[in-house]
């Protein structure tokens, strides 16, 4: 069974804090791992992806994520969050040989002023 799990439904931090949003996956074979952001009532925006190579990938707006095969994880991090980062973040996995993506249930990031 292919699964993507995000253990935290809500994360609350203050503006300027660092944050880590967690994602664990269970997938056979080669996969792409991605993170998306969804602001309230909007569609998904692509942040970053990993397939191979350097396990730390850089994305837009200062986000980065680190792939760990041993932990089956792909956690998203940002060193200093801004209030505009408040949104729901989705971790996603897709197989390299199938046209389908599986999403986690999302983590709602609340950034307080």
């Amino acid at each position: 069974t292919q699964t993507v799990s995000q253990s935290d439904a809500h994360v609350t931090v203050f503006e300027g804090d660092s944050v880590e949003l967690r994602c664990n996956y269970s997938y056979g074979g080669s996969i792409y791992l991605s993170w998306y952001i969804q602001h309230h009532g909007r569609g998904l925006q692509f942040l970053l992806k990993y397939y191979s190579g350097n396990p730390v990938v850089q994305g837009v707006n200062g986000f980065e994520a680190e792939f760990s095969k041993s932990d089956s994880s792909f956690h998203l991090r940002k060193a200093s969050v801004h209030w505009s980062d408040s949104a729901v973040y989705f971790c996603a996995a897709s197989s390299t040989n199938a046209y389908k993506v599986i999403f986690g249930k999302g983590t709602h990031l609340h950034v307080l002023p």
């Binding site: 792409y32 569609g43 046209y99 999302g106």
Partner: protein, 113 residues
């Protein structure tokens, strides 16, 4: 602004009515997906196309839902007879390769009353 254009933004239908939504994929993207996102942020894959051909679809799509991606026209997703449980955000996404780098539209929020 998303490069995938979805219309209408909001759709309100009575039970039993038809509900039709449209999607213009990002230019040059041959693969198009439809997903249903419910109020719990859960994504359900509905159907995908490569050019005009259906690649995969779930049972729900086969029975009450119809979708097409004609050449030189927007893709569309239509619910033949809307049910209350169909109320959700319907997201269209396109991709160059089909297994990564999805560009999502802003979605059509359907309310069935």
């Amino acid at each position: 602004n998303s490069k995938v254009i979805q219309t209408p933004r909001y759709l309100v239908k009575g039970q039993g009515q038809k509900a039709k939504m449209r999607c213009i994929p990002e230019k040059g993207h041959p693969v198009v997906f439809w997903y249903q996102q419910n109020k719990n942020n859960e994504f359900k894959f509905l159907i995908n196309f490569q050019n005009q051909e259906v690649l995969q679809q779930i049972d729900m799509t086969e029975k009450r839902f119809s979708a097409e991606c004609p050449s030189n026209s927007p893709c569309s997703l239509e619910i033949q007879s809307s049910e209350a449980g169909d109320s959700a955000l319907y997201l269209c996404a396109s991709s160059l390769q089909g297994n990564s780098d999805y560009t999502f539209g802003s979605g059509t929020r359907l309310l069935v009353i």
